[in-house]
């Protein structure tokens, strides 16, 4: 009975989410760093299960003094990293992945190097969905 009710509640909730953003943030990871490396990149996947478009506006990561959304883009063989001051669009129904050589979260002002195995809490702020927490897992430096 409880299971049926729970299932029904889920179905109703899903119906109500049409036209709104229903964001899940998952698979957060970063590469380990060494002493002296002030910055690191973190990657994750954002799934917008709702029908409504949303936008990632900001990221905060207590482990670093600053966390910013950056994009790496190639032009004529030259890689340029730029601040995404307008945030990142997450259209309804879309899965947006932050991945190597593309969009990433740049963490700077690391008091101590990121160590393999560490779990780093991060909070993402979306225009519609509000704040979402995710754990960033630190992998070995040669992780892909």
């Amino acid at each position: 009975m409880k299971l049926v009710l729970a299932f029904a509640a889920l179905l109703l909730a899903a119906c109500g989410a049409r036209g709104t953003a229903d964001i899940v943030v998952e698979k957060g990871w970063a590469r380990a760093t060494v002493a002296g490396q002030d910055s690191a990149a973190a990657y994750l996947t954002i799934v917008n299960r709702g029908g409504g478009d949303d936008r990632l506006l900001a990221v905060s990561v207590p482990r670093a003094s600053m966390a910013m959304l950056h994009t790496s883009s190639m032009e004529d063989g030259i890689m340029r990293m730029r601040d995404m001051s307008d945030g990142l669009a997450v259209p309804g129904g879309a899965t947006v992945a932050l991945a190597p050589n593309g969009t990433h979260i740049m963490l700077s002002g690391l008091a101590a190097p990121l160590r393999q195995g560490e779990q780093i809490p991060a909070t993402l702020r979306f225009a519609k969905a509000g704040t979402k927490d995710v754990m960033i897992k630190v992998e070995e430096a040669s992780a892909q």
């Binding site: 380990a32 060494v34 910013m68 790496s72 030259i78 340029r80 990293m81 070995e140 430096a141």
Partner: protein, 197 residues
């Protein structure tokens, strides 16, 4: 026409033919020189290794190597490229000696010997980290046709836009190919096989 005239005419023709052949040979040689110059990427260089000691490219002679220009404050593309080269070298299955992986900083002001040494140690496989005086770095950049430019970032730090290709040099010290970040693994592996033979 007298025989004398005919002989003269024939000799003139021979002369013209010889001149023509000579001109053709000179032209061919000049085209070849221009072609060789156009693809003269690389060449000998002198930088500083992670122990602060002089590093001459002579140390790389006779062995193929993959050389990448980046900076240690680069959070995304540089670790990704070096990690990928390390992984591909493992996949080739010919050992860590099959080709050297060389990292040259385009940010010598922040990346001294200690910085490049610590950074290249991150990947759990031999990576040669090189730095140098800004002038020495500029010289090597020019030899490889590498562009780099500092760009201010909001957090009062700076990033460096830079050529992101990995240059593959054969055991004879000659440039063979580049691997671009967006190229797939199978294309990259095929190119690496060309330098390791």
């Amino acid at each position: 026409m007298s025989l004398k005239r005919v002989r003269l005419l024939l000799w003139v023709l021979v002369g013209l033919a010889a001149a023509g052949v000579a001109a053709l040979l000179i032209y061919q040689r000049s085209v070849q020189t221009r072609t060789e110059q156009a693809i003269a990427v690389g060449g000998p260089f002198s930088l500083t290794d992670s122990n602060g000691l002089p590093f001459s490219s002579v140390k790389l002679a006779g062995k193929p190597f993959a050389i990448f220009f980046g900076f240690t404050h680069c959070p995304d593309v540089c670790p990704t490229t070096l990690a990928r080269l390390a992984r591909l070298r493992g996949q080739l299955g010919r050992g860590e000696d099959s080709f050297a992986i060389v990292f040259v900083t385009v940010d010598p002001e922040r990346d001294g010997p200690q910085e490049v040494g610590r950074y290249t140690a991150l990947f759990n496989t031999p990576v040669i980290g090189l730095t140098g005086t800004p002038a020495a770095i500029e010289q090597v950049k020019k030899q490889f046709g590498v562009f780099s430019q500092k760009v201010a970032q909001p957090n009062s730090d700076y990033s460096v836009d830079h050529t992101a290709a990995t240059f593959l040099i054969g055991p004879d010290g000659k440039f063979v190919a580049t691997i671009a970040p967006e190229e797939g693994d199978s294309a990259a592996l095929a190119k690496l096989k060309r330098i390791i033979g």
